[in-house]
Symmetry: C2
Subunit: 307 residues, 2 copies
């Protein structure tokens, strides 16, 4: 007779969220204080991150972008770190689709201008037959591609490895970014914030886009040079931009961006904090099961990269 | 040797739109003055509709809803009439998806309130796992269902015939509308304007919906009792409404609807007039080909119904 394995001891800090407690227990783990744990689920801020004992083998963070945790110096190479990219992707993809459609279908303009028969109807565009480039096509790109395809769009994916994205008509590596931007109708940014992705959209790359192009960002504000974007929007060199992330967040109240009718800004809500742990729960359960079984975890942070 | 058939003579009035001329010619027809034509493509208003000679066997109208043409008394039973439902469906479906996502993802509220961390994040909802009922699921429903499914929603279709809609988890006839409204998360109206569909949404049916429900209308304003909708929105009995059509259009400037942050109104742009004939062209070419070949046309108006 084989004895059943002892349950994996997991700490959930700084508070024991009920969705996550249920997930850990569902996966055969047990929730314990930090000093008794082999794994830590941290749902607090970087500044409050605790000093970890050597017995902590795995830390699960609740954000997809972890640059704030890196900046706070909490990420080390003495254990496994996972981020939230494994369960953020679907929400980000849905929000990206919502933003792109809100732009193309003139929903932001309609909210600002009211019933307007002169400006709005000629500006309406459709996803049918449009080419949409996803820059940083990893998990979000895999979720976004079938949504865009169902709307009749052609997807071009850009990612670091060039690994083909199912459903995309073409997947290319970042060295071909200029070429695909020059051919695309619209572009969605879903790349992590790294030195390589800073200001991917600037005066030069904006000049590659078209007067009917919409730019969507659900990743990090640093990917876009906002001053350059504001100039392109003001001068009508592109049709519009729809941003869930800005640099800084929130933008200053007197930022001239706010007055542009062809700019849509949502307050970083692709995966809003209320409901976050409910979204995180099934992912955590799967990773607890994998950790206990000695299997590879989902969304492991690569210490050799910036994400 | 078989002589080639003489080309079908088609009038395009009141002006010879270049997209439609090209479509007629591509399909083997020839564009002629009205008195020489066997078919009329009418892209003008009902009030300007010409007196037709008996030689006109088919009239193609450019709108999906033809109640204005009926009211003007121009539709008779001496020839075939087609409406635009055959090529409006995809645009309406895309706009319906855009409106529903704009509601769920709080895009309208974000445009109105700016960056707001208190009100907006808790109100964000997702299509993933949500049930969406399409009322009047014909052509638009067939286009909308795969778009919603790609976003992870469950579709319930309601149509007069009960003909199952591919991809819907359930298709029911209108006598079961109350039952499905009581079970749904959100509802999209895509039904024609008839006596049966007037004020489908009123105080009674609004009471069947949920505090997180969004109501979308891309059909006709008359389907909704706007005063009842305004009360439900003001009192928070439903989450919001997103309307591309109102009753009347446009709504009066002093309509209290305009001040509701959880109401999104777009100015009847699911298929905006600019670009309309470009959308109509491939459909017209197909119907010209069918007419010349003696085949059944697409989108024939049924004189026994109101649409």
């Amino acid at each position: 007779m084989i004895s059943s394995p002892s349950p994996l001891p997991v700490a959930i800090e700084p508070e024991r969220d009920r969705h996550l407690v249920a997930a850990v227990e569902e996966a055969g783990g047990v929730v314990v204080p930090l000093e008794q744990a082999r794994a830590l689920v941290w749902i607090g801020e970087p500044a409050e991150f605790p000093v970890l004992g050597e017995q902590i083998e795995w830390v699960a963070l609740k954000t997809a972008g972890i640059e704030a945790f890196r900046a706070a110096g909490v990420i080390d190479d003495r254990r496994i770190w996972t981020n939230a990219s494994g369960f953020y992707a679907a929400g980000c993809a849905e929000h990206a689709l919502a933003l792109l459609l809100a732009g193309l279908r003139q929903i932001g303009t309609s909210v600002v201008l009211g019933w307007n028969d002169d400006v709005i109807p000629p500006a309406v565009r459709t996803l049918r037959g449009a080419t949409v480039t996803i820059v940083g096509a990893g998990g979000i790109g895999r979720e976004l591609t079938p949504r865009l395809s169902a709307c009749g769009a052609w997807v071009v994916a850009v990612n670091r490895s060039g690994t083909p994205v199912d459903g995309a008509v073409r997947t290319v590596t970042p060295d071909l970014l200029d070429d695909v931007l020059a051919e695309t109708d619209h572009v969605v940014f879903a790349a992590p914030a790294t030195a390589d992705t800073r200001h991917l959209i600037d005066d030069r790359t904006l000049a590659l886009l078209k007067p009917h192009s919409w730019v969507v960002n659900v990743a990090r504000g640093s990917l876009i040079d906002q001053a350059a974007l504001g100039r392109a929007l003001t001068e009508g060199r592109i049709a519009g931009a729809a941003l869930d992330v800005t640099d800084p967040e929130p933008p200053p109240h007197d930022d001239p961006l706010w007055s542009l009718p062809n700019l849509i800004v949502t307050p970083h809500i692709a995966n809003p904090a209320p409901g976050l742990t409910r979204e995180m729960a099934p992912w955590l359960a799967e990773n607890v099961r994998r950790f206990a079984a000695g299997e590879q975890l989902i969304s492991v942070v690569d210490p050799a990269r910036e994400y």
